[in-house]
Amino acid sequence: MTLPTFILKNALRNKRRAFLSVSSVAVSLFLLVTLQVALRELTLPAASPGAELRLCARNKVSLTNPLPARQRAVIEKIPGVEGVSPFTWFGGEYQNDGAMTFAQFAIDPKETRRVFTDLNLTDTELAGFESEKTAAIIGKISADKHHFHVGDHLTLNSTVYPGALEFKIAGIFSGTADDRMMFFRQDYLDDSIGTPGLVGMWWLKVKSAGNMAPVIQAINAAFQNTSAEVRAESERNFQLDFISMLGNVKTLIASISTVVVFTLVLVTASTMSMAVRERFRELAILKALGFRRRELFAFILAESFGLAAAGAVLGIGGAYALYTFGDVGKMTSGIFVSFQVTPRIMGWAALVAALLGIASAVAPALSVARMSVVNGLKTLD
């Protein structure tokens, strides 16, 4: 019998225990990966293609305060600006869907091609959006969820404006960071129930990356000391600012992860000691046969490492498979759109597993090293 087979046989001599230990490690690592991915999605959301050239300008007071529409003429004249569109929150509810309704924003259809370059719409769809006042375009996730097709009509009750609007779907977009949103026409909103002369915020695109900083500065300066001061920032920063509003959620998830890891170490270490204690006598015999402490330690380490590795493969692999091939939007009832298990997170989880394998071998190895052969041989347990 070779050493590896000896270790393998030892690990599997109590198959039930091996199974239970591997499973509990796997479940914990699965949870750890899930929490870390959730944390990453919350703190570092996916950027849309083209985001590096886009910036947002909102009312300096807060996101919810409107901006005067007349600012547009000023912004358009700033050198380096490629296109400007209003971006107005409608807060519509679809069939009393409640808080989980897709978000809708009013934009300028003529600027769609210039500013919102990541929509992947066909020319016919874009033309439809540009030509019909009630036209709207909607993300694929929402379209699939509510079974919308091009040409369908839908009515949304606004929670912000008094009344409801009826829309006709002109196109379904995909490939943005959030394929749940709906865009419709600012002029339609203004003409029906909106507050003409006011928009939610400005969304614009600059000609090149070098224009970004100067344009941001120019916009901020242009409206300084006016009744509606503006805060412009890159789309990415805007996204991150939005997320920082979530507050203590980050701490919460990080603390839960820590507790999970701690519990994991505790339980696995205890299992390993159990496995070793069970064969104290055997180890004493090995010692009597002339095996060194070092070798005995290697046996125990290899076994606990193996258990942890098996658990890691199952737990991390399982999480990867579930979140990569499963429908996360459905699983989290729309809270998360993407749930990307990154190599970095998997690496960290694997590292935790490796450390776990080592840490849980230490206590049993120490007691084996300390045991006297005679006492070990006498052990009945």
């Binding site: 039930r16 225990r17 239970l20 230990s21 499973s23 509990s24 479940v27 914990s28 699965f30 949870l31 899930t34 300096k60 007071v61 807060s62 996101l63 919810t64 305060n65 807060g91 509810e93 409640g98 808080a99 009750n157 606004s158 929670t159 912000v160 008094p162 009344g163 000391n225 009744s227 509606a228 001061e229 805060r231 991150l240 600012d241 920082s244 509003m245 979530l246 507050g247 203590n248 959620v249 919460l252 839960i256 507790v259 999970v260 701690f262 519990t263 994991l264 505790l266 339980v267 270490a269 205890s270 299992t271 000691s273 159990m274 069970e278 989290t332 009832s333 809270i335 009945l380 347990d381």
Partner: protein, 387 residues
């Protein structure tokens, strides 16, 4: 005859290390379970602490939050002198026309900015919200660019302490008072005079009206009258109900709590099973002896399940104790209703503790069932012969 309880306690002592690890493992799982639920409970309680049963809240029909509601001045004038509304000693109707604005303010810990609810209220508005009391400084004077800030917000945001100033909408505002909202939604607000707020934030309309009804009957009449009046596209409902509906933020927390409970309980069951199997394995001979002494299979089964449940219950109790220090600690997140920072406290209610204990015992029973079955099924002779 059942096995005496002392038998199980002694057993736990013999295998102290493994027992302690299991107990501690279960206790951590229970602590996480209880704490996440305590967050949701805190949010719900904060909403519950807010409404006054005598008050009626009036917002625009269709708006889900005060901050997105609008009530025009004419609408306020129509309602203001209705006879259903209570009056104070001087004969002033108890109606507060409020303006809610969100302002973006930097957090004190430097982790970026968040929206803060600023409420402009009519002088009488303070007496409609008796849970709010001044704890430092004084109330604001209208027209002096003064505000009062909730003490909890003062601890979270820059420029909100007594005597501080902060800039918004091109104006500098001075904090002249700190108030305590007794764990109500007002703990997440900054207060100033309503008309001053309209001037500062360039708002024509009010956001909402809060009205004290003269009697409960008058309150019902008032709500019906708002509904019937064609000039008023408004919705009047009890303030209590309005705030009870403002707890959408608790939903994702509950989802997280349930997810954690399920996954962690699976892990905990595996761990408990491991311990119990080992315990049964090392007591094979003992179990054989018990059988010879006349204890029946089902007694052994019940005994081991009981042992698992006891172990888990101790773990559960410890978990609740571990969670307890966080009771009353305040925390905050963005409310999905108001779109602004909402502060609330961890609330570990007796019902939550009971839920945690039940959760622990279920884990213990499920985890020990199979090992107990194995113990009960051991053939007597072989068991006696084993080492």
């Amino acid at each position: 005859m059942a096995l005496p309880l002392t038998y199980h306690f002694r057993n736990a002592r013999v295998r102290l290390r493994a027992t302690l690890a299991t107990i501690l493992g279960i206790s951590l799982v229970v602590a996480v379970f209880v704490l996440v639920q305590a967050l949701a409970a805190g949010l719900v309680q904060s909403a519950r602490n807010t409404g006054d049963p005598r008050n009626v809240m009036i917002v625009r029909k269709g708006s889900t939050a005060e901050s997105s509601s609008q009530v025009a001045l004419e609408q306020f004038q129509i309602i203001r002198y209705w006879e259903q509304i209570a009056r104070d000693d001087t004969g002033t109707p108890l109606v507060s026309a409020d303006v809610i604005t969100l302002i973006s303010q930097p957090r004190l810990d430097g982790s970026g900015e968040a929206n803060v609810s600023v409420r402009g209220l009519t002088p009488v508005g303070k007496s409609l919200r008796p849970q709010v009391t001044l704890v430092a400084g004084r109330w604001f004077t209208p027209g002096q660019r003064e505000v009062a800030v909730s003490r909890k917000m003062a601890q979270r945001f820059a420029g909100f302490h007594l005597g501080d100033t902060f800039r918004t909408a091109g104006k500098t505002l001075t904090v002249v008072g700190e108030f305590d909202g007794r764990n109500s939604a007002f703990d997440s607000e900054v207060w100033l005079d309503a008309d001053e707020a309209r001037a500062i934030f360039d708002r024509q309309n009010y956001s909402s009206l809060l009205v004290r009804a003269a009697t409960p009957q008058a309150g019902r009449e008032l709500m019906a009258r708002v509904e019937a009046d064609k000039r008023l596209p408004l919705l009047a409902e009890p303030e209590v109900k309005y705030y009870a509906d403002q707890t959408a933020t608790a939903l994702p927390i509950k989802v997280l709590g349930n997810f954690l409970a399920i996954v962690m309980s699976i892990g905990a069951v595996f761990a408990a099973m491991n311990t119990m199997y080992a315990s049964v394995g090392s007591r094979t001979r003992e179990i054989g002896t018990l059988r010879v002494l006349g204890f029946r299979r089902r007694t052994i089964l019940a005994g081991f399940v009981l042992e698992g449940a006891l172990l888990a219950a101790v773990g559960g109790g410890l978990g609740c104790l571990l969670a307890l220090p966080l009771h009353g600690v305040s925390t905050g997140t963005m409310s999905f209703n108001s779109f602004s920072e909402t502060v609330f406290e961890f609330r570990i209610t007796p019902w939550l503790v009971a839920k945690g204990m039940i959760f622990a015992v279920v884990v213990g029973v499920v985890g020990s069932l199979l090992p107990a079955l194995r113990a009960a099924r051991l053939p007597v002779i072989t068991a006696l012969k084993s080492l």
